[in-house]
């Protein structure tokens, strides 16, 4: 199908965008890369009266790397991350995960802000944000506020974003030297959404013990979340095969995967086990 009839606006500033959004009383949709929104419109699963394109708002496409961490404007695209030289050292986990996001054509347009707002439980980026303690900056008629990624999602394809709010940036805490990380996912075909995936990082002390492990799951969940029991299983310990297996078991026990056309819950649970153990081996 073609898109439903709608108006299009190209605001030049955030203020203008917020004003348009508030005036529309829920009848408008923000447009970023369009890779999720446009199919939704074409299938007429959504019929907004107005599209507000974020393309002309200055500054939203910037990647800033400071001592405090990595700050990505909402309009930063997957290819920008994938091809960023500085990010390879500033946040290697992010860069590695990009290879799993869709296909090149989609990575060329899809954005970090759009992906968070879309909140697909099988998408890589929301899982990375939850795993890495990202802070999401949003702005609305009442000004801006910061939301922890872990408190941003409310379920499959839903978030705690208020009606007239716009995501402006995402900040990931600084990546210490020597941090260990792993990213593993399984999908039916290359480029498909993940049936199950694991993002993780941890630091080590002088004795090689695991410090502050962060383990997040995508795909085998209703929205991405940390695997606390799995983190607990390795925290303060020196990793070995036995511990990796114990951690993978804890992780696969604590997920609550859905059953759908792509795979059963039982199978996804098994995949969490495999991906978690591989991500730990990778790290």
């Amino acid at each position: 199908m073609k898109l439903p009839p709608l108006d299009y606006a190209l605001p030049r500033s955030l203020d203008e965008a917020i004003a348009l959004l508030s005036e529309s009383e829920g009848q408008a949709k923000l447009l970023a890369g369009g890779q999720s929104l446009m199919p939704t419109l074409a299938f007429r699963l959504a019929t907004p009266a107005l599209l507000i394109d974020l393309a002309a708002i200055p500054g939203l496409d910037r990647i800033e790397i400071t001592a405090a961490g990595v700050r990505l404007g909402a309009r930063v695209r997957w290819v920008d991350i994938e091809q960023s030289e500085p990010l390879r050292t500033a946040h290697p986990l992010l860069v590695a995960a990009m290879a799993h996001v869709a296909h090149y054509q989609i990575r060329n347009r899809g954005t970090v802000g759009g992906s968070l707002a879309h909140a697909d439980p099988a998408a890589e980026w929301p899982g990375l944000c939850v795993t890495c303690d990202a802070i999401i900056e949003v702005i609305g008629p009442a000004g801006s506020r910061l939301i922890e990624a872990g408190a941003f999602f409310s379920g499959p394809l839903s978030t705690h974003l208020a009606e007239a709010e716009i995501i402006t940036s995402i900040t990931l805490p600084a990546w210490p030297r020597g941090r260990r990380w792993g990213f593993q996912e399984f999908s039916r075909r290359r480029g498909d959404f993940a049936l199950a995936g694991i993002a993780l990082h941890y630091d080590t002390d002088a004795a090689g013990r695991v410090l502050d492990p962060h383990i997040g799951v995508i795909g085998a969940c209703h929205s991405p979340h940390r695997l606390r029991a799995a983190e607990q299983a390795i925290s303060g310990q020196v990793l070995d095969d036995v511990l990796i297996e114990a951690c993978a078991q804890a992780g696969s026990a604590e997920v609550d995967p859905p059953t759908d056309l792509h795979g059963s819950a039982r199978y996804r649970r098994a995949l969490v086990h495999a991906m978690l153990s591989r991500a730990l081996q990778q790290a």
Partner: protein, 762 residues
């Protein structure tokens, strides 16, 4: 022009595809792009139930939408065509549902509007009330179910072996092919070993990139149908029959087809656009969406029970095959699939005692019909998995076991037809040589296990069929070939041009092939079942020879030595005093065939030629996810002499990769008759990045003595061995045997868990 080029042998030359440049620059014509003034667009309203009587259809809301021209139901169609039922085997399919609906997705009404989006919107406002009837979906259940999809069977006159089904009531069996040779039961009672298995295949879709599209244009006293079809002559015949018109008042033309794969054979949406155009008295166009294709035609799901008796020295002495073909709600060409393929169910083996029961069965699912391989991939899947299981159980190398039993030149196939020009053993030899079958093989370690497998299959050609061709040589020596073989991407135009050039002694580049237009291109049965190179190839050869005879006479008359197109041009000029005139060469060919005996299923001449294809697979299984990586795929076929080696090569890999999708991921998933995944996001076709790590194709150095220049068909042979070769390699890698397609990672993983005694409990 360089005389050397002209004199070059045209057969065996990889002439570049003639339409290549037009296609890659976006200039090739497709039916979808035709714009006609005053055209109306049709969009369908479809049944949401699997089986029921139509009580009422409420079209009032749709009619009230601004821009809607009219809404048409089955009863409206009946005002135009009293018996609006079509189909090549049975006249069972109504143009729009009449009285009853028989599957979810069946067309019930059509909205016509000047804007397709208005039509689509309005179609969404139609509602219907049904009296629901119990439905039957599984082919084995349906064979004996008290639920009947059709009250009475209505065979078309086309096929003599369906005559006995006329007027039959109380059955879902639309064809029951039987083969009886020797005494299988006696063998089972006395054999050293008996093996019995049941295999399943799933419903899948052809997925041509260009969905069904047709445009009907009513004229004063005739109608023109622009359609994406593999069978223009048949479309003309069937439309003329429905309307009660002479054939010459129906003109059917095609443009390039964006793929067909068997989906676009016989008639599909053509009766509907014709009826709508005649009712509306305006041109009507229907372009289906990708999603709608799922409800038009697919590939038979099957259940195949196979039982073999094997002697102590590893020879198959008897084989019994019971094949149930899930034909869906309308027979389409399904009964041909279950018969023409059914008689090869025992495989490419020398088996003295054989019994086959192959039944086409109606169910309340979307129709199934021809699909690249015409039923053969489903059969090979079962018999070559079975063959491998036997070899492993008897501790005989799977290659050796096959060679011990394979049909050789002169051997009698179980149907009684002797094998001629059928290089089975050579196909096995070449696959194993390429794979280094006798060399040690790296079996992998840890969670990555490697295995390899082979499989080989055989297909008969559709017979008897007829092709006509016409070659028109112009006064400059260039030629146009008029033939109804449809180039839907397989490169047939290029190969046919080569045949003409070979005979005339010109270059292939000087021959053009027209698009089909039944007003000018002569009859051909259709482009299906890999029949064209053999049948149309002969007709084209004969037409070109006829032209050459006349050209030689013209040269003799004008005293010019016949050499090449320059001499032809000279002869024309001399005869007519200027560059003027034409020479027409005509040719036709009908294959030899003897129908199978109704009681024994046997025939001395059951096919004009045999197609043979085999595949070798090396793969790696991830034992923690069930994911399969195909490391190497070796496809070897006997295609006789390759007219255009490059075209042959792409046919082999195209067929094999298509079958790989059918093996590993594609599946139409039904829930109580309702398709749950009618979208390419959920129906998983492999993408570029899911291809095998390495793929090799080989067309044997072979000669089909009965074929034109030694050639035969090759469009499907690459599909045959793929599924069982993959399953056999999986078994080799991890000791897990799977009996149902598709071999998804989850199915494989579940098999691994079950094999280690820890089945996944949901």
């Amino acid at each position: 022009m360089d005389a050397k080029v002209i004199k070059e042998e045209q057969i065996g030359r990889s002439v570049p595809r003639m339409e290549g440049a037009a296609k890659v620059t976006g200039r090739a014509e497709y039916i979808h792009n035709i714009r006609l003034p005053g055209v109306l667009h049709g969009k369908m309203f479809r049944s949401r139930i699997a089986h029921g009587r139509i009580v009422s259809i409420d079209t009032s809301a749709a009619r009230a939408v601004a821009g809607v021209h009219s809404v048409v139901t089955g009863e409206d169609i009946q005002r135009l065509i009293a018996e609006p039922y079509y189909g090549p085997a049975f006249h069972d399919q109504p143009v729009l549902a009449l009285h009853k609906v028989r599957y979810v997705g069946e067309p019930v009404a059509v909205v016509l509007a000047t804007d397709p989006h208005v039509a689509e919107y309005a179609a969404g406002l139609i509602t219907a009330q049904y009296e629901e009837l119990p439905a039957v979906f599984n082919e084995v259940e349906a064979a004996t179910s008290p639920i009947h999809v059709h009250d009475e069977l209505k065979p078309a006159i086309t096929f003599p072996d369906l005559k006995h089904l006329k007027g039959k009531r109380g059955t879902n069996i639309a064809l029951d092919y039987k083969l009886r040779r020797g005494d299988v039961e006696a063998q089972f009672a006395s054999a050293a070993h008996v093996f019995e298995h049941e295999f399943h295949t799933q419903h899948i879709m052809h997925t041509p990139f260009e969905p069904f599209v047709a445009l009907a244009e009513p004229m004063d006293d005739s109608i023109t149908i622009h359609t994406s079809t593999q069978m223009p002559a048949y479309v003309r015949l069937e439309i003329a029959r429905l309307l009660g018109w002479p054939e010459n008042k129906v003109k059917v033309r095609t443009a390039w087809l964006g793929g067909g794969f068997g989906a676009k054979v016989y008639v599909k949406i053509e009766p509907m656009v014709v009826a709508l155009a005649l009712l509306a008295r305006r041109p009507v166009k229907m372009s289906l969406t990708m999603e709608e294709q799922f409800y038009v035609i697919g590939k038979h799901a099957t259940t195949f029970r196979i039982k073999s008796a094997v002697t102590a020295d590893g020879r198959i002495s008897a084989r019994k095959c019971e094949v149930f073909w899930n034909g869906g709600a309308y027979a389409d060409i399904g009964p041909r699939v279950s018969q023409k393929s059914g008689f090869t169910s025992t495989g490419p083996y020398r088996i003295e005692h054989a019994q086959i029961d192959s039944a086409e069965i109606y169910t309340n699912l979307p129709p199934a019909g021809a699909f690249r391989g015409f039923g053969i991939p489903q059969l090979v899947w079962a018999y070559e998995s079975h063959t491998d299981i036997i070899a492993r159980a008897l501790n005989i190398d799977p290659l050796e076991f096959r060679r011990r039993n394979i049909l050789r030149e002169g051997d009698e196939h179980p149907t009684g037809t002797a094998m001629r020009d059928a290089e089975f053993e050579e196909v096995l030899v070449r696959i194993s040589a390429r794979m280094g079958w006798d060399q040690p093989f790296d079996r992998g370690t840890g969670t990555k296990r490697r295995g390899r497998g082979i499989a080989i299959g055989v297909k008969a050609s559709i017979a008897p069929t007829t092709s006509f061709a016409l070659v028109n040589v112009s006064a400059d020596g260039s030629a146009v070939l008029f033939c109804n073989t449809i180039d839907m991407g397989q490169g047939s135009n290029t190969s046919m041009a080569q045949l003409v050039a070979q005979v005339l002694g010109t270059s292939s580049e000087r021959v053009r092939v027209t698009q089909a237009d039944t007003d000018v291109t002569p009859f051909d049965m259709g482009t299906l079942g890999s029949r064209s190179m053999f049948h149309m190839g002969h007709a084209v050869r004969l037409a070109a020879e006829h032209a050459r005879e006349q050209l030689e006479a013209l040269c003799a008359e004008t005293g010019i030595e016949y050499q090449d197109e320059h001499s032809i041009a000279q002869a024309f000029r001399k005869k007519f005093g200027m560059q003027a005139g034409n020479i027409f060469g005509v040719g036709h060919y009908t294959s030899r065939y003897q129908p199978a005996d109704h009681d024994t299923g046997m025939s001395k001449e059951i096919t004009p030629f045999w197609m043979i294809g085999g595949t070798g697979i090396e793969l790696e299984v991830d034992t923690e996810t069930g994911h399969v990586t195909i490391l190497r795929m070796v496809n070897v076929v006997d295609a006789g002499r390759a007219v255009n080696p490059r075209v042959v090569d792409t046919q082999i890999s195209g067929a094999a990769l298509m079958q790989m999708g059918a093996t590993l991921s594609e599946e139409m998933v039904f829930n109580e008759g309702e398709l749950t995944n009618p979208s390419l996001a959920f129906y998983k076709i492999p993408g570029m990045r899911d291809m095998p790590v390495a793929i090799e194709n080989e067309a044997l150095e072979a000669e089909t003595r009965s074929g034109p220049f030694g050639a035969k068909g090759v469009g499907e042979s690459g599909t045959f061995g793929v599924s069982p070769a993959i399953a056999n390699a999986i078994d080799d890698a991890i000791g897990v045997r799977l009996y149902s397609l598709p071999l998804t990672p989850e199915a494989i993983y579940r098999g691994i868990c079950a094999a280690r005694g820890e089945p996944l409990v949901d």
